[in-house]
């Protein structure tokens, strides 16, 4: 199977510009020149604050929007070339997304069984072992099938619904799962279970996860590799431990300074102003003009200038 290949998905020089207004259009650069590869069986974190473009990348990979330039390769196929319905269906069999609000994902009028039955309908799966297969994936995500099947979404908790969606991805045997703020609506005591589950499934099935988050601690816990995004660009990337131990880009540094942590208090004497980072980044780029993206150590690169 192709899952043994070195790279399952490759994102190359991806950009997305949104246009708003008709007569005097304004352009917003949401994603600018982003490239990265995803290896099978790994979790890669995409970390950034609101407006950094991390969700846009998720949407581009899921083909919900079209890139302005650049390419996304799934195995050897440029996904921009996928346009007939049959091919698109094949693509969605292998690349799926789970989003922040589980209650918005489910139709409240239908029993939750429908999300599984729909897979068998729309992807024309073999139905002979349907019941058994569904029960198996539910057990894999630590849900009791007898207590889950036949329920309506409002009868389940947010954590259970997110587990269901992971079970759904398992049933389809996806290669790449986009998890966009998957656990930000869940309570502390349930979210860690979901994270553990995701990592374990990656290791067992060879599935890859793009874990989109604003939470550095969660990103650190779960991922092998991290990508830090700021204003649509990748500003620092590489081995998660290396970035966390030695952040270099001013934006990454600012993120680390502001993340709240038990056992480690913010310095009360330090002048801290979120807006300050804009000037800091400009200054950083100016002093390093022309350097571009530089590898500072093995598997750790930093954007030194944005020209």
């Amino acid at each position: 199977m192709s899952k043994n290949k070195e790279v399952i998905m490759s994102i190359q020089n991806l950009s997305k510009v949104f246009k708003s207004g008709v007569f005097r259009p304004e352009y917003t650069v949401a994603v600018k020149d982003v490239s990265f590869d995803i290896k099978p069986g790994t979790v890669i974190s995409l970390i950034g604050e609101s407006g950094s473009g991390k969700t846009t990348i998720g949407k581009l990979v899921l083909k919900l929007i079209r890139p302005t330039s650049g390419h996304i390769f799934y195995k050897d196929t440029d996904i921009a070339q996928i346009d007939d319905k049959e091919e698109l269906r094949e693509y969605y069999k292998k690349v799926q997304g789970i989003f922040q609000d589980p209650f918005a994902t489910f139709n409240p009028l239908y029993r939750i069984d429908r999300v599984f039955n729909m897979i068998y309908e729309s992807f024309a799966f073999d139905k002979s072992n349907q019941e058994e297969e569904i029960r198996k994936v539910l057990s894999d995500v630590n849900l009791n099938p007898d207590r889950i099947l036949g329920k309506f979404p409002h009868q389940l908790s947010g954590g259970q619904l997110q587990r269901l969606l992971i079970a759904r991805a398992l049933l389809m045997d996806v290669d790449v799962l986009i998890a966009d703020e998957l656990i930000s609506m869940l309570d502390a005591s349930t979210r860690i279970g979901i994270l553990n589950l995701l990592v374990e499934l990656c290791k067992e099935t060879g599935m890859s996860v793009i874990f989109i988050t604003h939470d550095l601690n969660l990103g650190y816990y779960i991922s092998d590799e991290s990508l830090i995004m700021y204003k649509g660009r990748l500003v620092e990337r590489g081995d998660t431990k290396k970035i966390y131990e030695n952040p270099i880009h001013p934006y990454t540094k600012m993120l680390f300074k502001s993340v709240p942590e038990i056992g480690n208090r913010w310095d009360p004497d330090e002048e801290f102003l979120p807006e300050q980072v804009i000037q800091d980044v400009d200054l950083f780029y100016q002093t390093h003009t022309g350097k571009g993206f530089v590898e500072v150590e093995e598997n750790h690169s930093v954007l030194y200038s944005a020209d």
Binding site: E49, S157, A188, L195, N196, L216, Y220, K257, V259, E261
Partner: protein, 331 residues
């Protein structure tokens, strides 16, 4: 007159239930605690633990939420049985609430200035030049240019809006501020700014004391003097911040702290665990510790509701087995 009072707020056995057709949802059940003068008390717990209900119980109590029993004294005055008119006089000056989702309360069609004007006039404060001069001074304190007053809310970031909200809510220098999830919708950088701002407002004497409600224990750790933990409408534990974190005795507090990921902990090195199961439904819930359904230490004794017991100076816990459990297995 109240200068010497040590506790700004005293809550005794407060019960506030949502009265619905099927019975009562016991969202705040027999809660006792104080808020001291000049402190920031952090109130933490997961969704549905009654932390926001506690705030509403103190301030508005809109049906179906009803005060069932218990006393609340604010600055020595009993407020649970006060008439609406009397209480309204205390609002903003003595007690002020920043509700959850206050960020979304800005009108999209009004300039910030007009919005603030309309808002304070509701409280019979005239929005004149003098008033706005004070507003501008306070905005300056939180690094906002006074030009934000002439902008519309969509032009401002979440962090800026939250700062404006904090400026308005504290404009009359309230003795006691309740801040409900003021950092949850913000980016980490703005979170730090807004949380620190709360501590600064207290240090500058603009607010007397504050109760900071959030599900995020790690933010409370940064600025709260004391922490209180609630679970499913019941009191679990209260204590000075460091004492509570290092010497937690309630199994729920312990599990909550243990489930928090921190920079420096990776899955492959150290696996963290959550708490199995979900909180119980609070509709007509009976006697007993409500954590017993998920608690690894639970036994028959836990069918009875535990009382608050003292662990250390200022550290209280509601658990039958806190002494046996000890604090050594923290971490």
């Amino acid at each position: 007159m109240n200068e010497m009072r040590e506790n700004i707020l005293e809550i005794r056995n407060l019960k506030a239930y949502y009265m619905v057709l099927k019975g009562s949802v016991k969202a705040v059940d027999d809660i006792t605690f104080n808020v001291k003068r000049g402190e920031i008390l952090g109130l933490a717990g997961e969704s549905g633990c009654g932390k926001s209900t506690l705030a509403s119980a103190l301030i508005s109590r809109k049906p179906p939420l009803q005060h069932v029993s218990g006393d609340v004294e604010l600055l020595g005055e009993e407020i649970m049985y006060m008439s609406k008119g009397e209480f309204q006089k205390m609002r903003l000056r003595n007690i002020s609430l920043i509700p959850q989702y206050a960020l979304d309360a800005f009108s999209p069609t009004k300039k910030i200035k007009t919005f603030i004007g309309d808002l304070v006039e509701e409280h019979e404060i005239s929005a004149d030049g003098k008033f706005f001069k004070k507003v501008k001074e306070r905005l300056d304190m939180v690094n906002l240019d006074s030009s934000v007053l002439d902008r519309y809310s969509i032009e401002l970031s979440g962090g800026m809006k939250q700062r404006i909200i904090m400026v308005i809510s504290t404009i009359l220098d309230p003795e006691f501020l309740i801040a409900d999830e003021i950092t949850s919708a913000l980016d980490v950088s703005s979170q730090r700014y807004v949380a620190t701002m709360l501590a600064n407002l207290r240090d500058e004497g603009i607010i007397g004391s504050a109760m900071f409600i959030t599900h995020d224990l790690s933010i409370l750790y940064q600025i709260a003097d004391r922490l209180m933990i609630m679970y499913a409408g019941q009191f679990s534990e209260i204590g000075p911040t460091d004492e509570l974190i290092e010497n937690a005795r309630h199994p729920y507090t312990k599990a909550l702290i243990a489930s928090l990921p921190q920079v420096g902990i990776q899955y492959k090195d150290k696996k963290l665990y959550g708490i199995k199961g979900t909180p119980p439904h609070l509709l007509n819930i009976g006697e007993g510790c409500r954590f017993r359904f998920r608690c690894p230490y639970a036994n028959e004794k836990c069918e009875e509701t535990p009382e608050q017991e003292q662990v250390n100076e200022g550290h209280f816990v509601s658990c039958w087995r806190w002494e046996e459990i000890g604090s050594d297995d923290n971490e």
